[in-house]
């Protein structure tokens, strides 16, 4: 088919598709289902004030485990494919060392990491959680790499050890989730008792999961970014 024919067909089919979605679904109709079961008792059952964290780290932890698996496999895949191919020497001019970037990184690195840690630790009390906190931390490292050069930062993190830590943490997370089987409870219920609602030391096992996930996502983000940088030659 010629490209104009493809273009016309595409416009027709895609717009019909959008129109179908918009018209047939009753967006203003009554919401189905009974009162939301999570809102009713979520806070006291999980001990977490942030109900969203309570859901994906307590009621639906199973999904989050598999989602972590996907993330880990992505990191594994990126490392496997990019490290095996040594790219041909790229003709990319090194970015001139700019004092602006260096000074800005000096100023910003601390607060960024602090925000990342805050998001992780307070994940059960306010929006945030392990994933966002880890991503923020990883991006902070990227800023550091932009200022100092990726090799300098990478030398601090020995690759083998980082890899072991990353998978070791995943192992810990799964063991932690599965361990209640051997304590005579159905799997994935929380081990520790949920404490007082609203205080920092509450939330049952949620802060532990948040912490572990945060470290894992932090390492994973850095590995992905660094693999791309190393493959290309320099930022």
């Amino acid at each position: 088919m010629k490209s104009t024919a493809i273009g016309i067909l595409a416009i027709l089919l895609v717009s019909a598709f959008c129109v179908l979605l918009l018209l047939t679904v009753d967006y203003h109709g009554a919401r189905g289902g009974t009162d939301n079961p999570y809102l009713a008792a979520g806070a006291s059952e999980t001990g977490a004030v942030n109900l969203v964290s309570g859901i994906y780290l307590n009621y639906r932890l199973y999904d989050s485990l598999f989602e972590l698996l996907i993330f880990s496999m992505a990191v594994l895949g990126v490392r496997f494919y990019l490290n095996a191919e040594k790219s041909t020497k790229p003709n990319v001019a090194r970015v001139a060392e700019s004092p602006v970037v260096r000074i800005a990184a000096d100023l910003l690195f601390g607060p960024i990491m602090l925000i990342g840690v805050y998001l992780i630790v307070f994940g059960h009390l306010s929006p945030g959680g392990g994933f966002s906190g880890g991503a923020v931390g990883g991006t902070g490292l990227l800023l550091c790499a932009a200022a100092l050069g990726a090799e300098v930062v990478a030398r601090r993190f020995h690759e083998q050890i980082i890899e072991q830590i990353e998978w070791g943490i995943l192992l810990l997370i799964i063991l932690f989730a599965v361990a209640p089987i051997f304590f005579d409870r159905l799997p994935l219920t929380d081990l520790l008792p949920s404490g007082r609602v609203g205080k920092l030391l509450s939330g049952g096992t949620i802060p532990i999961y948040n912490g572990l996930i945060g470290i894992k996502v932090f390492i994973g983000t850095w590995v992905v970014i660094y693999s791309f940088i190393r493959h290309r030659g320099e930022i």
Partner: protein
Amino acid sequence: MIIALLPLGHFLIGVLSLLWQRGARRILPFALLIDVALIGSLWSRVAGGTSVSLVLGGWGRDLGIELVADKISLGFSFLALLLTLAVTVYLWRERQRPYFYVLLHFLLASVFALVFARDLFNIYVIIEILTLVSFLLVGYERKARQIWASLNYLILAALGMAMYLFGVGIIYYHTGTLNLTLLGERIAGMQDQLWLITASTLLVVGVSIKAGVFVFSLWLPAAHASASPAVSALLSGLVIKMGVVVLFRLSTVLDISLPLIVLGGITGVVGAVYTMFTYELKRMLAFSTLSQVGYLLVGIGIGTPLAIAGSLTYGVAHGLSKGLLFLAAGQVVNTTGSAFISEQVARQEKIPRATRIALFVGTLSIIGLPPLVGFCAKGLLSAATDSLPLHLLLVFVSLGTVVAFSKLTPLLNPRYGCSDERAKAISYGILALPIFAFLPASFLFVSWIQVLSWLGPLQAGESVAIIGAGFLVYLVLRGHPVRLPQRIFRLEEAILLILAVFFATFFLLAGSV
């Protein structure tokens, strides 16, 4: 308890294999043994037809994620174990990187998770894992063809899952639950609502892209043909069936039988035609997978217990046969270096005898020779179809399959050929044994008495007649190769086709309620 242990256990062992890379290859058989033990203990509770249900975390069904084990789940778990064992043995001599075994563990973990899943979003996450693992496995050898094929696959699968997510959003908005059982209760009176039709179409289309339905899965020939043989065996034999299992679970809640039958019919017929006129060995097997999925969908669409038993039995049967065929085909391509089927290639001494016999057994099973497992399943299906047009459709697809596989006759001659590596031969045996042993072991999906009562001389005679007729048709068509349009397998045309058939499915659904 055990239901959650199967997927999570494999997940755990996969991570362990990554940490202890030298032992990765040796852990795998032990893990499989533990799996057999676990499935065996579950079997005793499921055998009577009841199902075992577990909500993770001990919450209620409306709060947590539910996992349910029934006969169908265990049947497919059994298939998964056999295929993985065969693939491991097949690759025993060639030292793979530990990364490969880790991927196998994750593949098994997600397959187990999917057969037990009863929650819409859980299904979404697991299907995405399956996409990712297949994607990584297809591109494993880093050849350009594989990378291009898996990129196409990834884009189409991601598009499909985005549609699926739209469907999930709509359903959740109107019913407030993601659990399939609760969903069934809540939409009990609402079959004719437009939003339900749109949502069902979105869900079905999204999953069909992964399930090997012809118009949606146009990535399949390229991906399965270019992957290494062990990976193709796993993909064609196992991963595709997972999509079909999900469609089956959806069909127990949503009323999607008509689109399933129509889509299944189209898949079967067009796939059979393409299979007949492809002369490249692995590509032909991939097309054959597409057309056999048509059988499965028609059976699920019909919906009677006999039809469902027939189609899901055929899922397992086809998994075994296609796995065997792909492993053998891989060996053929390895030893001769050519991917095409031709007379001179077939007579070469280089193709080992064991491979030829394996191809023979696999072919016999797929074309439905009694009393192999392929015949059992096809016989059940043909006994379940009452309406004449549907029956003729299935006959046509069977005929096409026979014609297509008759092409392999020169290859099947065990007179030529040297002896094969022990490992490969054992791996063929692992898959071939259940193919022969099915009739005695058919309490997998239906009871012993029931199978025998439906598979009488009528079905056997029909099968043999089809085989004979097909061979004659092949002899007639032998000298006249036909070139079929290949442009629809490009990404752009594939997406357009998906959208177009989306509308067709929508109107089919709207018309049927």
